[in-house]
Symmetry: D2
Subunit: 340 residues, 4 copies
Amino acid sequence: MIVVMQAGSTEEQIATVLERLEEHQLHGHLIRGEERTVIGVVGAMIPPELREELAHFSGVRETLRITQPYKLVSRELRKEDTLVNVGDTVVGGPHLTVIAGPCSVESEEQIMATARAVREAGATMLRGGAFKPRSSPYTFRGMGEAGLKLLAQARAETGLPIVTEVMTPNDVDLVARYADVLQIGARNMQNYQLLEEVGRTNLPVLLKRGLSATIEEWLLSAEYVVAQQEGNPKVILCERGIRTFETATRNTLDLNAVAVAKRRTHLPVLADPSHGTGKWYLVPPLSLAAIASGADGIIIEVHPDPDRARSDGSQSLNCENFATLMPRLAAVAIALGRKL
Amino acid sequence: MIVVMQAGSTEEQIATVLERLEEHQLHGHLIRGEERTVIGVVGAMIPPELREELAHFSGVRETLRITQPYKLVSRELRKEDTLVNVGDTVVGGPHLTVIAGPCSVESEEQIMATARAVREAGATMLRGGAFKPRSSPYTFRGMGEAGLKLLAQARAETGLPIVTEVMTPNDVDLVARYADVLQIGARNMQNYQLLEEVGRTNLPVLLKRGLSATIEEWLLSAEYVVAQQEGNPKVILCERGIRTFETATRNTLDLNAVAVAKRRTHLPVLADPSHGTGKWYLVPPLSLAAIASGADGIIIEVHPDPDRARSDGSQSLNCENFATLMPRLAAVAIALGRKL
Amino acid sequence: MIVVMQAGSTEEQIATVLERLEEHQLHGHLIRGEERTVIGVVGAMIPPELREELAHFSGVRETLRITQPYKLVSRELRKEDTLVNVGDTVVGGPHLTVIAGPCSVESEEQIMATARAVREAGATMLRGGAFKPRSSPYTFRGMGEAGLKLLAQARAETGLPIVTEVMTPNDVDLVARYADVLQIGARNMQNYQLLEEVGRTNLPVLLKRGLSATIEEWLLSAEYVVAQQEGNPKVILCERGIRTFETATRNTLDLNAVAVAKRRTHLPVLADPSHGTGKWYLVPPLSLAAIASGADGIIIEVHPDPDRARSDGSQSLNCENFATLMPRLAAVAIALGRKL
Amino acid sequence: MIVVMQAGSTEEQIATVLERLEEHQLHGHLIRGEERTVIGVVGAMIPPELREELAHFSGVRETLRITQPYKLVSRELRKEDTLVNVGDTVVGGPHLTVIAGPCSVESEEQIMATARAVREAGATMLRGGAFKPRSSPYTFRGMGEAGLKLLAQARAETGLPIVTEVMTPNDVDLVARYADVLQIGARNMQNYQLLEEVGRTNLPVLLKRGLSATIEEWLLSAEYVVAQQEGNPKVILCERGIRTFETATRNTLDLNAVAVAKRRTHLPVLADPSHGTGKWYLVPPLSLAAIASGADGIIIEVHPDPDRARSDGSQSLNCENFATLMPRLAAVAIALGRKL
């Protein structure tokens, strides 16, 4: 940490800062510049709250952090990529992950048809929501456990592992009985009890980035989960669009964040161009772009009849469009030295 | 709802839209312009999902909503201001509400000293966190029930009602045993299970706006709570700063939102300049501005020794600064025809 | 400046940084922490480009600036408020400035009627656009010099000084022949040739904040103007709304920025609630809030018949609403120890 | 245009709207719903200002636009892609455009070395700034005409066409004497006099998107240029990063905007990952992603010695990194059915 004093700070003010540092067994290293004094803080363990505290000591202009607040998920700690095993597939290695399926499970017919179609086209996992967060209390919120059972049925037939969202700590046990990967949605990225609860299951967790979460906050949320897991971290990050001023798209898929996250953490990173853009016709170009930006795979919404989808129809591909996209993804993957 | 067809849409495409409307007992009213055809949708009840669905029918350019998605909290439903009774005080009437206290309850000494000081200066309620959401798993997360007990002790002595945050559905019963007002924090504005749970307690709920929530989403979250409450709505809205590109402040307190919310809903609206700005020296000017923008009161952080606060110290006023602010707030209130 | 090395940087990498500092007659002060080394840079004059340069030296993690990049406009340089004289009025002192008038000058009748009405109600200056920036090439772009002549005629009759926008360096001489204050619009906040040109006229300059400009960039643009002016700085800052994700208002008037700017610079700061919100019915509450946040005045759009305004009608007050607002502003001003 | 009346609007209010429409030879088509009345406006030419005007008629809740405000650049007007010829190359066809070079021209040695290196690696044009917009008045602002001469010399030797920025209307003639493509920077996207002036030269124009410009505003600025050009439109759009809340990158390169722009306009679209991210190590992944998202090419900063660049060094590739990137771009281009 660096403590920047105001121009004209007094010796007494500087001494007060140094004393507080000593209370924490830290050493303050003084640099007296032409304009102002700066204090470099050195020591074994700087308490996270101390920076905020010192920031409004009298005579202090600001405090600057020089370390990242996350540890276990940091690439500084662990250089090599973390691979997350899900069923027979591996997330994070040379093979790209393609998770496909409807926004919500709506019926046996719908989920089975979709599961068959996406497996046929080459998807590696099946997604589908049984519990749906909806901003209005008056819209469809998912089939609940009945939906989970249908997902399990689809897995039994197709062999595709299941990714499905859990929204509240009380549902974690239930969802964990069916799911292969527990998804934490964007709205819950900072639902800390939920993060801890899913961490304790030891199932892989797909952690979506919050709509206005910084990359640092996203990695801190991953840290919450990993801090609960024993040994092998099983968190898969997923960029899914941020909120900006632009209204032509529902959100702004942030592929910069994919590239930054790949550099800062050893965890695998996926992208979700369906939620990221909110428009089905933008899903193919942004899926290709996501792969090219270094993502370890994508998660996209596919619905056999998007016109009649009960949620998010306007961002779903139909099965035919999905099947057309897959060889294009494969071609780009190969160009990048990876494969589907 | 308005369905805007693409320039050059075919009669068949228009017919398909009209058919789908009829399936829902809705009538499509055709307007054929020079450039394109537009369909006005008329009927008793338009299903919320239908707009999304139609948006990607072939030949459709976009669909536009012309009604607000919230009902119970809308001022179109109820013209007069909702007053929320808390202890002896009323939120939303001519008297402004001033809720003050520390970010976190840290000790008996700290909370009692603060409670006395803020009551002395004229605050109408006491705030203090016993359960704290923190973006890092390595920082102080509150005293839990011990903190709630200290808050109750402070209420017993000072008579000030207590506002405190609840973070997860499982804690609602516990917190409700102590609190006079249940606070939903910004990160939980779209934690729907939590919204429903606090709605069922029938206690007043202070609902903070999410960091990147639109005003519409904020009111929809209020709708979740009110839809659970029987009869009298007891939701107090609270603007607490949004996330923008500006880095000089921690967040951007959005007083436009206060004025807009006062116009769109009958619920009372407060502002939180402490979290809204993140800097203690910005709290006084923005508190005055909040009142002038039409807020029904403010909630601010006061700490007897902000330099040693375990969280949010840099945005807390000390007791003396708070006491200095109060008469200034009172003067502005009177200038606006209200009072403290 | 602080240079933060990566964990594990080599002695050679550190030496390379120190050498480069020496090339610039700067001294690097080493702090070796447990985790990483940090270099505090000390010297008479750090070239602005050096921070960027060092940022990607090998072994460097990041570089941190500890001084503000603006000088002349900084309150660290000059503690007392700058007062800007315009005609008989003073911007920045105890008397609040109220600049009112139509978005565009449209006709003699319109501008004379507005000028009389706003003077009658107590405005201290008249605003009106003769050159209008419009995002579409197909909309009305102002009357040009004919509009300037009408403004001069309104000044002759009412005595109100004139504030009007200049959009391009070539027009500065022309506009300067008529205007008392040259306005730089939000879109031109970083039109550097224009900033220099208006600086050279030595007329007062009203500098609007760009739609997505940080406070620091805004002050840097003021620095451009002041650096041209001889002696007495005559820049009046004006916050006019920033672009955020919120769509309920046209922009988000940022009163945090008013309070921050008042703290960082000695220049006077106004607010423009008309452009800031884009809705006439939000102008009164946000005008009051602006004053309460510490602004030295406001600039608002008033039109005798907003329904027929050729631009920005939906954010203009009519003369009656303006007359109603003024005593409310006066009451709040008095409550704050100021006056209209 | 659609005029949405408030719930409970009166017949008189509706009649007033209809009358105003008739003044403009427009027809108002009434749709009376359960909740409110909506008026569809039909007619040959709706004046752009009318929507704003009607928006605050009494009884009106809001007005909705159903057409895009740009015409000449719209894909609705012209289905096939516009190809822009620059020297021997074509922007917008199957061959991708790669424009490379330093941020600023700094010396003969620097620009000649870069030009040779980027031609060698396969770039199709040379970029380099002679006039630089800088947010601080104290930083290097380019070599001016001497820089233009060096660019011309580099073209003479390498055959690469030159792309260089013009910042102010007065410089257009000068820059046009040297440049093959006139670049309009992000800060000047809404500098309308400049847009008109470059439109009149009939040279190709590279129009960067403003830092917080919506896609619609960007296309409207293109419309300004094209409206000046006779016959064949010669505007090349360039996405270069938007301003968001994220601080890990300098800007957020918005590849959604590339895909949206390709759909809405017939003009070619490039991406600038150097300014878009601000970090040299993010340039390769985002360059690949830009191509995959459908961009017609990229413009990137290459400097022979980025550590000593006088501007933007931290986002420049050195010549070796650029040479390594090119075959990777070529591989992805081929996978997409295009070529370098």
